[in-house]
Each structure stands twice: as structure tokens, then as C-alpha cells.
């Protein structure tokens, strides 16, 4: 099937057309001015769509909501005894996410083995995850520029990587060229508003992909990270040095496209309530808090060690060596203390990785 093209002028028409079949999400500037914060929001025609700047958050919440109801309950009494009624929420609508970067889409590939029962540990299928995942079309927008925190090429990705994407969109001066990647992507491209892409448009797109890829420094070899981090596990001096400046907040994990941990709580009011699943983060103290009050991860040193170790050692050792990081760089970019995951990993392996952009002259 040949690639499609949609002009900038007709983009909103197409997204509106898409909205008949999908709940469409796209990056939106939600701030007070042209440089407001870009996040993913359900598409509305007059919304402030923005593709120039990278969304601050990853797209993971479009499939894995920050909180979702697992079951509603109602307590009551029957014949002088307590009684309980349960109700499972209906299936969510099909979604199409337009304009996410490749790294965000690759993030879901790290989620999948954890939730679809194919993982090496246990075979539990998480239907709450899967029913959303299977009903979501990811229309990746190839990055035309890379940031100094980007390192997708270190972990097997790239600015125009199609792994995890259902459709690959590339922004040209006059519109987007749309390439179908998976069968699921076809559903999004069946619109009369889309024109076939021309050869020159295809060529332009390939050129952009190459240029963006070339802007990144050559990746270091991270294959030793699994053993290196395991070896560093008890090196408290190493972790203390890396973690001293960490605030132990959840910004890195919550912005991360690959962090998949959650918490389950019951929230009730009177006789009505809901059991909800909400994001949790290994950087937060309550993550490992036990009912007794004991917390095996006493401080930020152990917590940071877990986050890095999980991504670059424990997960890979369970999932065929796949690193649980997609190199989006958000954890670095938004860290209030400039904790740099690239540096910790290369320090642990004992190599120097040239981070960031080729032209960059670091301080």
C-alpha cells in the first residue's frame, strides 16, 4: 500500500474524521502563551496542536491511564448482614494517538511483555491494559530535530524508528506524509481526505529521517549494563555519589514512557466506592513501604539504584536483553536536579558515552 499525504490545512479535518471511529489524542500546548507546556490531550478542532516542541510527558497515559477504575462497589445490608455489589466498568473507546515521537511508541513494547502474559515471569494477562492497548492506534511522528537529552539510538531506537508505531508520520513543509506500519494502522488511514504521497515527498521524508539520525552522537556499547549494574549493586559509595543530588521525586518515572508500575487502592464515599489502579513509582518512599511500617528501600540511594538497575539490568535479564529504556531523555530534561541516567549507566559500565548532540559543547 502506498503512503498517504495530508496537508497542514486539512490535518484537522482528517483528525475530526478520525474522531468518528477513535478517541483521538494529540500533543497540545496547554499553557498561557506560545511556549506553554505541551502535553497529550483529546483532540478538539480548535485546540492548540503543537508538533514543533517535544511533549513534556510521554504518551503512556493514553494506554495506561494515571488512574483507572478496576471495579466499582456498593456496600449495603441484606437481612441484617453486610452485603456487597460489584460492577466492572465498560470497555474504553478505541483510541488513536497522533503525533507521538517514536520513543513513546517504543515504550509500549517494553510494557507489553509485562502485561500480555508473554513475559518470562508468570503468565498473567492484564485485561485492563490489553483492552486499551489493542484498541489504540499509534501514529508516530518522526522527529525532525533531536534534543540534547535524546539518546534513543543508545537503546536501539532512532528519530524515525517504526518499532511500536502503527503509522509513521513525517512532517514536511506543507503537511504530513503517512506511512502504514502495521495492519492496525490501516484503520487510521482509510479516509478520503488523504491523498497518495508523491515520490518527491517520500524522498524528502527519507532525507529528514537521515538528517535527524545524523545529529545524534554515536551510541556507546551498553551490552555490559546487565552485569555491570548487578556488580555495582552493593557499591554504596558509587550509588551515594550518583544519588546525592536526587530529590527522590517521581518526575523521572512518571514522565517515562517505559515505567509501568502501579498501585491499587480503594476509594470510597459512603456506600459507593471504586477500586482503582494508579501510577506508582519506585522513586517514591511508599512504593516499597510494608504494612508493618518497615521500608526495605530506606532512602533515595536505594530507590535510584532500583530505577537504573531495573531499566538496564533486571528487566533486560528477564526479557531477552531488551533494555527497559527508550532513550526519550525526559527523565534528564525534567529532573529538578539534573540527574542524568546516561551518565550513571556509563559510569557503572566504566565507559565514557558522549551524550547529547554532535555539535554540543558541554559545560
Amino acid at each position: 500500500m502506498s503512503n498517504k499525504f495530508i496537508s497542514h490545512e486539512k490535518l484537522r479535518d482528517w483528525l475530526e474524521d478520525l474522531s468518528a471511529r477513535f478517541e483521538v489524542w494529540a500533543p497540545v500546548n496547554t499553557g498561557q502563551d506560545a511556549k506553554g507546556v505541551v502535553v497529550y490531550r483529546p483532540f478538539v478542532r480548535d485546540g492548540a496542536l503543537e508538533f514543533a516542541r517535544k511533549p513534556v510527558e510521554s504518551a503512556k497515559h493514553t494506554v495506561f491511564p494515571r488512574s483507572e477504575t478496576l471495579v466499582n462497589f456498593k456496600t449495603g445490608a441484606k437481612d441484617g448482614k453486610p452485603a456487597l455489589e460489584l460492577h466492572v466498568p465498560e470497555d474504553p473507546p478505541a483510541r488513536a494517538v497522533f503525533g507521538l515521537p517514536s520513543c513513546d511508541a517504543r515504550g509500549f513494547q517494553i510494557f507489553d511483555p509485562v502485561y500480555n502474559g508473554s513475559g518470562t515471569q508468570g503468565l498473567a494477562r492484564d485485561n485492563y491494559y490489553l483492552r486499551r492497548r489493542n484498541a489504540t492506534v499509534l501514529i508516530v511522528k518522526a522527529c525532525s530535530k533531536v534534543l540534547n537529552t535524546c539518546f534513543c539510538n543508545w537503546v536501539g531506537g532512532g528519530p524515525a524508528c517504526t518499532e511500536g508505531a502503527d503509522v509513521l508520520a513525517t512532517e514536511l513543509p506543507d503537511g504530513f506524509i503517512l506511512a502504514q506500519v502495521t495492519a492496525r494502522g490501516e484503520a487510521a488511514l482509510g479516509s478520503a481526505l488523504l491523498a497518495p504521497a508523491s515520490d518527491s515527498q517520500e524522498k524528502q521524508a527519507r532525507k529528514l529521517h537521515e538528517e535527524a539520525g545524523a545529529a545524534l552522537c554515536a551510541p556507546p556499547d551498553l551490552s555490559a549494563s546487565v552485569s555491570a549494574l548487578r556488580g555495582k549493586f552493593d557499591d554504596s559509595a558509587f550509588w551515594e555519589a550518583e544519588a546525592s543530588k536526587c530529590l527522590s521525586c517521581g518526575a523521572c518515572t512518571y514522565l517515562c514512557p517505559t515505567c509501568y508500575c502501579f498501585n491499587i487502592t480503594d476509594e470510597a464515599r459512603g456506600v459507593l466506592g471504586a477500586r482503582i489502579r494508579s501510577w506508582d513509582a519506585c522513586m517514591l518512599p511508599l512504593f516499597t513501604m510494608e504494612a508493618s511500617g518497615h521500608n526495605p528501600r530506606t532512602g533515595k540511594i536505594q530507590r535510584l539504584r532500583n530505577r537504573i538497575g531495573h531499566k538496564f539490568s533486571y528487566y533486560p535479564s528477564l526479557h531477552n536483553g531488551r533494555i527497559a529504556c527508550c532513550g526519550c531523555g525526559r527523565c534528564i530534561k525534567s529532573c529538578p536536579s539534573s540527574v542524568d541516567i546516561r551518565r550513571i549507566v556509563t559510569d557503572a559500565i566504566g565507559i565514557t558515552g558522549t551524550a547529547g548532540l554532535k555539535e554540543q559543547k558541554n559545560g
Binding site: T30, K35, R53, A251, I332, S334, S338
Partner: protein, 326 residues
């Protein structure tokens, strides 16, 4: 000798008597500084060794003091950071004798958000590949592109109303403390919000808070947040907020944080700086700061002997007219 060279000398002199000295070193790119914990003399080499130098000394390092209590540590402070230390000492959350405070005449610190806003449309701070301060301008490279920004335009808001460019208290000081400027905080940021109707203000918060991801960077970046790992944000008893992704609960947390800081906040603005979602959370704290100044004439972080006004009382309150209503 340049200020940062003088500071390095003081730090080297301080190191033998302390666990470490906390200062600023290079961050992930030309624009970012980052806290650095200097334990050995060679760690001092990278101190302030960044394109932005002292202008990039953004983090309030007082944050790290409570967790290090029991150990003697040195800390380099801007004037505003020293106020956090004063407040921590006043509340006996750290011991004065355990901290070696190293001050310098601060001329302001950068606001990364302002830098990004000053870049051309569609460009972002992450594209910056190089930076240098030349006189009163910041020269940025974005690949082959060069952009100049006036330092005054990219200075943090708090610097424009700073009363304490030198440290309020210090054990060592690099250079000469300038005269404290005669500035009055007019709370222009609050006035801008208050120019809106009540309805618009509420919608403003609804929109801003909808971006909150509940990462609690605001809380963890606050040097005066005492609860740390025991925050009510995640507790079931007390159960102030649910774990749902609701704007109401996210705003409620901000109100909780601001209320806990009422009469204690020094306005360092780290909460807002730390917020990845760019939510102006400092506004709520400044609301209380203004109220506390009006009612009690109190400014937190100026006097180690002061009692925070909400932890004490007067039998007759001069500025509370509680009988105005009824």
C-alpha cells in the same frame, strides 16, 4: 580574583572539617547547573565550571541539609537560599553548628522557562548546544544558529524582588556583600491573577492543575517541607486525597503544601522550578506569604530566633479584626 575562584578557595579551606561541601557543578547541557557534593579537593575543580557560572547556580542547596543532619556539611548559598537555612534553624530542623554557610554576592540566577520562552517560536531549550555569558547578555548556540538574550530578561522573578543578595547568615563570604537593595515585593504575579474574575481564576487553576502528574517534585524540591517520606499525599490515615487522577485532588495537594508552608515559606520558588508540567504552584505559597506579611509583618527566613507566626499567638492581635464579620 573572580567570585567563583574565591569560592573554590573557601571550599577547599572548609573541606577538611566537613563531610562535604554542597555547591553547583555542570548539568546535562550548557544551560543546566546541577548540585555537586564535593568530598575531595579534586571535586572542587568543577565547581561553577559551567557556561552560566554563578548565573546558573539555580538549585537551592539548603534542600539537602535536613537529610544530612547529624553530619557537619558546608553549603554554598545564594541570598535566597540562606533564608531557607535561617528558617530551618529557626524551626530547629537543622543545627546551626552543623552547617558551614558559604555566601557570595549573588547577582541573580537564570530561569530556564524564561530562556525557552525567549527562543523563537517552536524552538526549545533542549536544542541549545552551547552558551556563554558576555557582559549583560547570554549568547546561545542552537546548532549553527546564534541567539543573544539580555540577562535581565531571563533572570528568575524572585531575583527582581530580592532583598538578600548576600547571605542572611554565613560563616564565610566570597567578595564583598553589596548593600541590600530597597525593593518592595508588590506581588505583581498575584495581582495579575487577581485581575481575573473569580470564575476565571478557578478555570485557570483547573487548566494548570490538569497537567499535574502527581510526581511531587514540587514537594521534594521544597527545602522547608519537613514531612518528606511521610507526606499526607500518599497516606491512608489521614486520607486527605484519593489516588485518582483528578484535578480536584491534585489542586488539593497544592493547597495542603501551601498551607503547611504558611508563615514558613521564604519564596525560593524551587517548587515551581521543579515542576515538569510548568504549573505556577508558587503563587499559592505567595498568597500566604503576602497574607502573613500583612497580618503579622513577618517574612520567613530572616531571623533564626523568630517563631513562625502560626505556631504562636498574641492574646490581642493588632491586625486581626475577627469581629468584623458579626
Amino acid at each position: 580574583m573572580a567570585i567563583h575562584e574565591q569560592l573554590k578557595k573557601i571550599i577547599l579551606d572548609t573541606l577538611p572539617g566537613v563531610e562535604c561541601v554542597i555547591g553547583w557543578g555542570p548539568g546535562q547541557d550548557a544551560l543546566h547547573g546541577s548540585p555537586v557534593f564535593m568530598r575531595k579537593p579534586e571535586d572542587v575543580d568543577s565547581f561553577m565550571d559551567t557556561p552560566l557560572g554563578a548565573f546558573g547556580a539555580v538549585n537551592n542547596l539548603a534542600l539537602f541539609l535536613p537529610e544530612l543532619s547529624g553530619k557537619k556539611v558546608g553549603v554554598v548559598v545564594k541570598g535566597c537560599d540562606s533564608r531557607s537555612i535561617v528558617q530551618l534553624v529557626a524551626e530547629k530542623l537543622i543545627k546551626r553548628e552543623e552547617v558551614v554557610i558559604i555566601g557570595f554576592p549573588c547577582e541573580g540566577a537564570a530561569d530556564l522557562t524564561k530562556i525557552e520562552k525567549a527562543l523563537p517560536e517552536g524552538r526549545e531549550a533542549g536544542e541549545v548546544t552551547g552558551a556563554a555569558i558576555v557582559g549583560e547578555t547570554l549568547k546561545l548556540s542552537l546548532g549553527s544558529e546564534e541567539i543573544s538574550l539580555g540577562l535581565a530578561d531571563i533572570k528568575a522573578d524572585k531575583c527582581t524582588r530580592c532583598k538578600t543578595p548576600g547571605a542572611v547568615i554565613s560563616d564565610a563570604f566570597a567578595g564583598i556583600a553589596g548593600k541590600a537593595p530597597e525593593v518592595r515585593d508588590e506581588y505583581a504575579d498575584l495581582a495579575a491573577l487577581e485581575a481575573m474574575s473569580l470564575d476565571e481564576r478557578f478555570k485557570f487553576w483547573e487548566r494548570e492543575m490538569s497537567r499535574c502528574i502527581r510526581c511531587y517534585a514540587c514537594r521534594n524540591a521544597c527545602p522547608l517541607c519537613v514531612c518528606r517520606d511521610h507526606c499526607v499525599a500518599g497516606s491512608r490515615s489521614p486520607h486527605w486525597i484519593t489516588q485518582t487522577d483528578s484535578t480536584r485532588d491534585k489542586l488539593m495537594f497544592q493547597i495542603i503544601h501551601a498551607t503547611h508552608l504558611a508563615g514558613r515559606c521564604t519564596g525560593c520558588g524551587e517548587c515551581q522550578r521543579a515542576c515538569p508540567a510548568g504549573i505556577p504552584v508558587l503563587l499559592l505559597k505567595r498568597t500566604f506569604n503576602r497574607g502573613v506579611a500583612e497580618i503579622f509583618g513577618y517574612d520567613a527566613g530572616m531571623d533564626t530566633e523568630a517563631t513562625p507566626p502560626l505556631l504562636t499567638f498574641q492574646v490581642e492581635e493588632a491586625h486581626i479584626k475577627e469581629r468584623e464579620w458579626q
